[in-house]
């Protein structure tokens, strides 16, 4: 892993299309500005992880789909 020390307003560049800039340094967190082309998805790590876990749970639970459908069709 490459490790950099950056101060407020300083940035790093990844390739020639991605820039990560430190906008604010607070006690509890660092605010970053990411500039990236539209074909590069940028997500907070925990969002991807949350969806990943939700998908795993959705797949792992055996579902009686017909019974659930009947339940949902009840008015």
């Amino acid at each position: 892993m490459l490790v950099f020390t950056r101060r407020k307003h300083e940035a790093i560049r990844i390739g020639d299309r991605i820039e990560v800039r430190v906008l604010r340094v607070g006690r509890d967190g660092v605010r970053l500005g990411i500039t990236a082309p539209p074909d590069v998805p940028v997500h907070r790590e925990e969002i991807y992880e949350e969806i990943r876990q939700a998908n795993r749970a959705a797949h792992a639970v055996p579902t009686d789909v017909t019974a659930l459908a009947v339940r949902l069709r009840q008015p």
């Binding site: 539209p38 074909d39 590069v40 998805p41 997500h43 907070r44 969002i47 991807y48 949350e50 969806i51 990943r52 876990q53 939700a54 998908n55 795993r56 749970a57 959705a58 797949h59 639970v61 579902t63 789909v65 017909t66 659930l68 459908a69 339940r71 949902l72 069709r73 009840q74 008015p75």
Partner: protein, 152 residues
């Protein structure tokens, strides 16, 4: 904002009881170029709808590890549902902002029997190109765990 249009008829899918008919499966395969989170190596799925399981639909992986999901059109859960598609999403789906897309919220039945739908990160399919993707909005308006009640 891209508003999912209502009353989309399903151009894909087969009878759930029909089993895997190879030619039909191949014809109905939807490519997910990035897989979906947790199932990144699953790149081909089929969407199955039938009267028996309506309003639910099934999404099965037909290539790579097993991945079976149950989904529901999020607009049947919340009629006002809308979700932003990024330029990247549209590009992966080979869709224009006005392309009619299929939307599916993945349903999980929890251990106590509660059924929840993931409205936060819907599966979106472009039926014209048979391309699909799970959308991950950073600023979600909707919960990952929306409890489904009868009549949905």
């Amino acid at each position: 904002m891209t508003t999912p249009s209502a009353a989309v008829s399903l151009p894909i899918g087969a009878d759930a009881s029909a089993g895997a008919v190879p030619s039909e499966v191949a014809q109905n395969a939807v490519a997910f170029p990035d897989g979906i989170p947790g199932f990144e190596s699953c790149r081909q799925f089929v969407l199955v709808a039938s009267d028996e399981i309506a309003p639910l639909q099934r999404l099965h992986s037909i290539q790579g590890p097993s991945a079976n999901f149950v989904g529901i059109d999020p607009r049947l859960v919340l009629p006002s549902y809308r979700c932003h598609l990024s330029d990247h999403d549209l590009r992966v789906l080979d869709a224009q902002p006005d392309t009619t897309l299929l939307w599916l919220a993945i349903v999980t039945v929890e251990t106590d029997g509660t059924a929840v739908a993931n409205l936060r990160a819907p599966i979106v399919i472009n039926p014209e190109r048979m391309l699909g993707r799970q959308v991950l909005p950073d600023e979600g308006l909707y919960p990952i765990r929306h409890v489904l009640s009868p009549g949905a």
